[in-house]
C-alpha cells in the first residue's frame, strides 16, 4: 500500500513469515518506531515484509497498537496495577509461547509501550521469589541438559571431521588420475580439503 501517513484511514499491508498478508491501519503502524524510520516518509509499494514473525504474533501485536491508537502519548512505563481491564485481558489470554513471540516482535518493531508492559510483566513474575523459584520461571537448562547439548555438539564435530577426511581421500584419488604437474596437484587438493572441512564445520 502506498502514501505516507497523511491520514489514519490509510491501510498498510503486512506480510508475515508464512507469506500471508493482512491490513493494519497507518495510525496503529505509526506506534512502531521501526516502521516510522523505514516507511513513514517514503511510503511502501506492496506489502511490508515483517517475515521474521508469524501471522498470529503480528496480528496480536497490531491488535494492541490498534487498541492504543487513541490513548495519550506514551510517557514511560506504567505499573501493571495501573493497566486497564482490556490490557490485562490482552496479556492474560496469551500462552507463554505467544507472549515471548510478542515481546520479540514488539522489540523488533520498537513499540515502546507494549515492550515496556511485557518487560514489566516478566519482572513481576520474578518478584518475591527465591533463587530456586526464579530458576523455574526463567527456565535455565539443567546440568544434564547442558551435558547432553555438549555431547551432541561433540558428535557433530566428530562426524564433520570424518566426512572431511573421507572427502579429502576421494579428492586425492580423483586428482591422482588426472595428469597434473605435482605442485599444482598438491595445491588443488589442499584447497579442496580446506573448503570441505570449513563447510562441514560450519554445518
Amino acid at each position: 500500500m502506498t502514501s505516507p501517513a497523511s491520514s489514519s484511514e490509510v491501510k498498510y499491508l503486512i506480510e508475515s513469515s508464512e507469506g500471508n498478508t493482512f491490513d493494519v491501519s497507518g495510525a496503529a503502524l505509526r506506534q512502531s518506531n521501526t516502521f516510522n524510520a523505514m516507511f513513514l516518509n517514503i511510503g511502501a509499494d506492496g506489502p511490508i515484509p515483517f517475515t521474521d514473525y508469524n501471522e498470529a504474533t503480528l496480528k496480536k501485536v497490531f491488535e494492541y497498537c490498534e487498541h492504543s491508537v487513541n490513548e495519550e502519548n506514551y510517557s514511560g512505563p506504567k505499573h501493571q496495577d495501573d493497566l486497564s481491564k482490556w490490557d490485562l485481558n490482552f496479556f492474560n489470554e496469551m500462552d507463554q509461547k505467544m507472549f515471548i513471540d510478542v515481546i520479540n516482535a514488539s522489540n523488533f518493531l520498537d513499540i515502546e509501550r507494549l515492550t515496556s508492559y511485557c518487560c514489566e510483566r516478566i519482572a513481576r513474575m520474578l518478584r518475591g521469589k527465591n533463587t530456586q523459584e526464579m530458576i523455574k520461571v526463567i527456565t535455565l537448562p539443567t546440568a544434564e541438559e547442558l551435558e547432553a547439548k555438549q555431547k551432541v555438539e561433540e558428535k557433530k564435530a566428530a562426524a564433520a571431521k570424518k566426512v572431511a577426511e573421507k572427502a579429502a581421500e576421494t579428492a586425492e584419488k580423483t586428482e591422482t588420475l588426472e595428469e597434473l604437474p605435482v605442485q599444482q596437484l598438491v595445491q588443488t587438493t589442499r584447497n579442496k580439503l580446506t573448503r570441505k572441512y570449513l563447510s562441514f564445520s560450519n554445518e
Partner: protein, 355 residues
C-alpha cells in the same frame, strides 16, 4: 521461558523493573545470569555503596545503595537437620551445601555450620566480583569460633574468639590491608610482625587486656591509634615520643590514646625528663584541644565520628618542622594530639601565652 535468549534491550528493560535485591537473587540462578546482569546492568550494580557483614549468632549481610537497603539472612543448620538441596549459589560448587529454601518472608540462605568460614568467603568474593571495589565493605564479627578471612574489607570490628591463632589473624589482615578502621577486642595470642598489614590501618582501636601494646604502637603507620586496658612499658612511650620529636617515623600519626593501662606504669616527670616535653605554665593552666575522632564501625555505611577533647598541660615540638603535639600524661593514661590535625588550631596561641 528461555529468559536469556531475549535480546539485550529486553533484558535491560526487565532488569530495570527489578530492585537490587531481586537482581541479586536472579544473578544467583546461574553463571550466565550473573554475567548477563553484570554486562547489562552494571550501572545499577555500581550504585551499591555499602555492604556490611554482621556475623554474630545469626549472620546477616546488609547491602545498601543510594536508594535501597536490603538484608541477606544466613542461618546454619546441623548435619542431622540437613534438608539442604545443594545449588551453585554465590558461585560455589554444587558440592557445597548451601541453598535458599522457599520462604514467604525475605529470602534466606542456609548452610552447614562447619562450612561457615568458607561460605562467608565465597559470598564475599561473589559480592566483590559483582559490586566491585568501590563499595565500602564493613565486617563485624562477634561470632564464637569464627575468624574471618575476607579479602579487601575496609572496616572491621572483631571480637577474637578464645584460641584464635595469630596466623589466622595475619591472614585476614594481609587479605584486607590498608583498612580505614579496625577495632580488635580479645587476646592476640602472640606478637605481630613489624610488617603486618594491620599497621597500615588508618584508625586502629585495640582492647586487649592480655596483650602488650608496645610493638603495635611502634610499628603503627596510620593516623590514629587507641588502646584500652592494654599493657604498656613506660620506656615504649619514651621511645615513641623521641622518635616522633626527631622526625624518625610516625609522620602520618596524629592521635594516640592509651587508656586504663594495667599497673599504672607512667610517670609524668620522668617522661618529661627523657623526652624534653615542655609544660604550659602551672599544672592548673590548661586549655581544651578538640578534634573529631573516628569511632567504631559505621552506621548505615556512614563512618562513625564523635567529638573528642582533652586538656593538655604539656607539649612537644618536632625538631625538623616545628610541628607541635599536645600531651597529657597520668599514671595510667597517655594522650597525644598533633596540633595541625585539631579542630581548634588556634590553641597554638596558648603556647606563646604561657611561655
Amino acid at each position: 521461558m528461555k529468559f536469556l535468549t531475549f535480546p539485550t534491550l529486553i533484558l535491560k528493560d526487565i532488569f530495570e523493573n527489578l530492585t537490587l535485591e531481586q537482581l541479586l537473587i536472579l544473578s544467583l540462578c546461574s553463571k550466565r545470569t550473573t554475567y548477563a546482569i553484570q554486562a547489562i546492568q552494571s550501572r545499577q550494580l555500581k550504585k551499591v555503596e555499602y555492604i556490611f557483614y554482621k556475623l554474630t549468632s545469626e549472620d546477616q549481610i546488609i547491602v545498601r545503595s543510594n536508594w535501597e537497603t536490603f538484608n541477606v539472612k544466613l542461618s546454619t543448620v546441623s548435619l542431622k537437620d540437613n534438608n539442604i538441596i545443594p545449588t551453585e549459589l554465590f558461585g560455589m560448587k554444587r558440592e557445597v551445601e548451601c541453598c535458599s529454601p522457599p520462604s514467604k518472608l525475605a529470602p534466606r540462605y542456609i548452610y552447614i555450620k562447619k562450612d561457615r568460614e568458607m561460605i562467608m568467603e565465597k559470598i564475599h568474593d561473589y559480592f566483590y566480583q559483582i559490586f566491585g571495589s568501590t563499595v565500602y565493605y564493613q565486617l563485624e564479627s562477634y561470632a564464637d569460633g569464627f575468624t574471618p578471612r575476607l579479602k579487601n574489607i575496609n572496616c572491621s570490628d572483631i571480637i577474637l574468639p578464645n584460641g584464635t591463632s595469630l596466623f589466622d589473624l595475619k591472614t585476614f589482615f594481609n587479605s584486607s590491608p590498608n583498612q580505614e578502621y579496625v577495632r580488635i577486642r580479645g587476646d592476640l595470642n602472640g606478637k605481630l610482625t613489624k610488617n603486618s598489614a594491620l599497621f597500615t590501618t588508618e584508625y586502629l582501636d585495640i582492647n586487649s587486656s592480655k596483650t602488650h601494646g608496645d610493638d603495635i604502637l611502634l610499628a603503627f603507620k596510620g593516623i590514629s591509634i587507641r588502646f584500652q586496658d592494654t599493657m604498656f612499658h613506660a620506656s615504649t612511650i619514651i621511645w615513641f615520643l623521641n622518635a616522633w620529636k626527631s622526625g624518625k617515623g610516625f609522620h602520618n600519626l596524629k592521635f594516640v590514646s592509651i587508656a586504663s593501662i594495667p599497673g599504672r606504669c607512667l610517670d609524668k616527670n620522668k617522661l618529661a625528663e627523657n623526652v624534653g616535653i615542655k609544660s604550659l605554665g602551672s599544672p592548673d593552666d590548661t586549655f581544651e584541644v578538640k578534634w573529631i575522632e573516628r569511632t567504631n564501625g559505621a552506621v548505615d555505611g556512614n563512618r562513625n565520628w564523635r567529638d573528642r577533647s582533652f586538656n593538655p598541660n604539656q607539649y612537644l615540638i618536632r625538631d625538623n618542622d616545628g610541628e607541635v603535639a599536645f600531651i597529657r600524661v597520668t599514671m595510667f593514661s597517655f594522650d597525644f594530639a598533633v596540633w595541625s590535625a585539631l579542630g581548634n588550631p588556634e590553641v597554638i596561641d596558648y603556647i606563646d601565652m604561657y611561655n
